[in-house]
C-alpha cells in the first residue's frame, strides 16, 4: 500500500494539520508520500521532507498552484492517485474544497472527516454534529479521505529524511482565479493548533467588550481566541474565529467558554477538549453539562478577576 498526503501550505511553511494527517496515514500503514503543489514552494517542500516517516515529497511548482485553486489542483492529484491506495488531506477549508472534486473525477466516494482508522478500508467519522459516530467501510479501489486533525496526535515535524522529487505540473484550467485574500492577522496561536483557547459568545455584548474582557486573559494564558456563531454573526470578531459544527473543530488542553450557552452546534466543535471551563450567569446553560469546571456569575466581573489571579 502507498499513501499520498496532500499538504496544505503557504509555499514557505506547512499548516499545522499536515502532521496530524501524516499520523492518520501511519495508522493506515504503508509508504507515505507527500504532495506539495505550489509556486516557489521549495521551503514548504523541505519542511515536508523533515516530517517523520515521509518517503517521497512530490513537488509540482507552477504559478497557477500558488493559491491552491481546486480546479487546477484536482487534475494533478487525479493523475497521481492511480499510484496510491489512499489519498489524504486535512478536513480544513483547503481539503474540503479540493478532495471531493478529486473523488468525483476518480468516481469514488470520499470518506469525510475521519477521526479513527480501524483498518485500511474501515474508518470512523462523526455525523449529526458529533452526536453520533459512524463506522464506514469503503469498497472503492482508491480511498479518498479527509482527516479531522483532533482525532490523531501529530507525528514529529522534524527528524525525517524524505526525498524531494520534482514532478510535472498539470495545465491551468483557466476557469477560476483568486482575486484577493484578506487574512486575519494575529500574533496569537492558530485556533486549530492552540493548546489553550479562550472563547466568547453573545454574552460579551459587543466587539469592544469582547476584546477588552477576553484579550488580557488570552494574553496571560498564551491562548488563541475563539467565538460562538452568535458572536461572529453579530460582528464581534471575524468569521475564522468560529468554533463549532460549521466552524473550526478544536480540542485544546484548556477551553474556556465565556458567555456561551452551549448549543449543540457549538459543542460539536469543542467537546473533545481535555479540560473545559464555562463561565455563564445562567446556571441552567447547557454548556455546564460538558464543562469540567463551571462558574456561575457575571463574566464582566469574573473574567477580569480570573485574569488578575493567574
Amino acid at each position: 500500500m502507498a499513501i499520498l498526503v496532500i499538504a496544505e501550505h503557504d509555499n514557505t511553511s506547512l499548516k499545522p494539520g499536515v502532521t496530524n494527517t501524516v499520523a492518520a496515514a501511519h495508522k493506515i500503514g504503508g509508504d507515505i508520500d507527500v504532495l506539495i503543489a505550489g509556486s516557489h514552494c521549495a521551503a514548504a517542500a523541505s519542511a515536508a521532507a523533515s516530517i517523520v516517516g515521509v518517503g517521497k515529497v512530490l513537488v509540482a511548482d507552477a504559478p497557477y498552484y500558488a493559491m491552491a485553486v481546486a480546479e487546477n489542483l484536482a487534475p494533478l492529484v487525479v493523475g497521481l492517485a492511480q499510484n496510491y491506495s489512499h489519498v489524504l488531506a486535512g478536513a480544513t477549508a483547503f481539503g474540503k474544497n479540493l478532495l471531493p472534486r478529486v473523488a468525483a473525477l476518480l468516481d469514488v466516494m470520499q470518506i469525510s472527516d475521519i477521526v479513527a482508522v480501524e483498518s485500511a478500508d474501515i474508518f470512523v467519522r462523526p455525523i449529526y454534529a458529533g452526536n453520533a459516530f459512524a463506522t464506514v467501510q469503503s469498497s472503492d479501489a482508491i480511498k479518498i479521505i479527509t482527516v479531522r486533525s483532533t482525532g490523531f496526535d501529530a507525528v514529529a515535524a522534524m527528524g525525517g529524511n524524505g526525498v524531494i522529487e520534482n514532478i510535472a505540473s498539470a495545465t491551468d484550467a483557466g476557469i477560476s482565479r483568486v482575486v484577493k485574500q484578506e487574512l486575519t492577522k494575529s500574533d496569537r496561536p492558530e485556533l486549530a493548533a492552540a493548546k489553550r483557547i479562550v472563547s466568547g459568545g453573545r454574552g460579551l455584548g459587543d466587539g469592544d467588550k469582547y476584546r477588552a474582557v477576553l484579550e488580557p486573559l488570552a494574553d496571560k494564558l498564551g491562548a488563541a481566541l475563539g467565538a460562538s456563531r452568535a458572536a461572529v454573526d453579530a460582528g464581534f470578531v471575524p468569521n475564522d474565529y468560529q468554533v463549532g459544527q460549521t466552524g473550526k473543530i478544536v480540542a485544546p488542553e484548556l477551553y474556556i467558554a465565556v458567555g456561551i450557552s452551549g448549543a449543540i452546534q457549538h459543542l460539536a466543535g469543542m467537546k473533545e477538549s481535555k479540560v473545559i471551563v464555562a463561565i455563564n450567569k445562567d446556571p441552567e446553560a447547557p454548556i455546564f453539562q460538558v464543562a469540567d469546571y463551571g462558574l456561575v456569575g457575571d463574566l464582566f466581573t469574573l473574567v477580569p478577576e480570573l485574569t488578575a489571579a493567574i
Partner: protein, 249 residues
C-alpha cells in the same frame, strides 16, 4: 439565467438526535424534519438574484423519499418557480447525488447551481464540489457574498485564515456558508401559492444513474459521554482546580 438549488430534507437542527439501539443509524421516526439550513440560504440567494433581475427561473431539486415533497413545497413557498423530486428509497451518497444532479443539469442547462456547503445530518461537505468536477465547472465553496456580472460570479469565501474572493466563469457551482444571507420565512399566501406550482417526480432509473452506495455503514454509536464536571464557588476555587487537579495552568 436559470438557477438550480438542491434542497435536502434533514432532521431539524433543534432536535437532539438519538442513536438507535441496534446501532444501524439514528432515530428518524417521529422526529421533526426540515430543510437543511444551508439549503434555505441557497434558496434565499437564488430568490434575491431573481428579484435583482439576474435570474429568470429557480428550480428546486430534492433527492429522497416521497416526504421530500414537503421540503420542495417550502422551497417553492420561499420563491422557487418549480420543483423536481428524484424519488428513491435507496441509500443515496454524495457521489450519487452529484451524478443525479449532473443528469438534471444536462436537461435544464442552468448557469448556476447553488448548494449548501454541508448537510447537517451526514456533514459530508462534498456534493457541490463533486457536481462541479462531474460537470467540469468551476466551484466557489463556503460563499459569504455573491456578485454576478459579465458572465462571471465573484464570490467571497470563508477560508480558515479569513476571507478569499474568487472570480469564476459561468456556468458554475456555489456552495453557501452561514453568513451569505438570512433566509426569509414563507408567508401564508406564498405557502398557498406554492401548492399550485409544478412539482415533477422522476427516478434515478429514469435519469439513467447508478446510485449504488460505495460506503457501507457498519455501525453508528453514541459518542463517549463526558463525565459530569463540578461547579466551583469562585475564581480562587477555579484556579486551584486548574492548577492542582487538572494541571493545565
Amino acid at each position: 439565467m436559470k438557477i438550480l438549488v438542491p434542497v435536502k430534507r434533514v432532521v431539524d437542527y433543534n432536535v437532539k438526535v438519538r442513536v438507535k439501539a441496534d446501532q444501524t443509524g439514528v432515530e428518524t421516526a417521529n422526529v421533526k424534519m426540515s430543510m437543511n439550513p444551508f439549503d434555505e440560504i441557497a434558496i434565499e440567494e437564488a430568490v434575491k438574484l431573481k428579484e435583482a433581475g439576474i435570474a429568470t427561473e429557480i428550480v428546486a431539486i430534492s433527492i429522497g423519499a416521497t416526504q421530500c415533497q414537503e421540503t420542495l413545497r417550502t422551497a417553492l413557498a420561499m420563491g422557487a418557480d418549480r420543483a423536481i423530486l428524484v424519488e428513491t428509497a435507496a441509500d443515496i451518497q454524495p457521489l450519487a447525488v452529484a451524478k443525479l444532479l449532473k443528469a438534471i443539469a444536462a436537461n435544464e442547462a442552468p448557469q448556476l447551481v447553488i448548494l449548501g456547503k454541508q448537510a447537517i445530518d451526514d456533514d459530508s461537505n462534498q456534493t457541490g464540489q463533486m457536481l462541479a468536477a462531474l460537470l467540469n465547472w468551476p466551484q466557489a465553496t463556503f460563499a459569504s457574498k455573491v456578485t454576478i456580472a459579465n458572465g462571471e460570479a465573484e464570490v467571497m469565501r470563508e477560508i480558515d485564515g479569513g476571507m478569499e474572493t474568487v472570480a469564476i466563469k459561468l456556468p458554475a457551482i456555489i456552495t453557501t456558508d452561514l453568513r451569505l444571507n438570512t433566509p426569509r420565512y414563507a408567508t401564508l399566501p406564498n405557502i398557498m401559492k406554492a401548492k399550485k406550482k409544478p412539482l415533477d417526480i422522476v427516478t434515478p432509473e429514469s435519469l439513467g444513474v447508478d446510485v449504488s452506495p460505495r460506503l457501507k455503514t457498519l455501525k453508528v454509536v453514541e459518542p463517549a459521554k463526558r463525565k459530569g464536571g463540578v461547579m466551583v464557588a469562585n475564581v480562587a476555587a477555579l484556579i486551584d482546580k486548574l492548577k492542582n487537579e487538572a494541571k493545565v495552568i
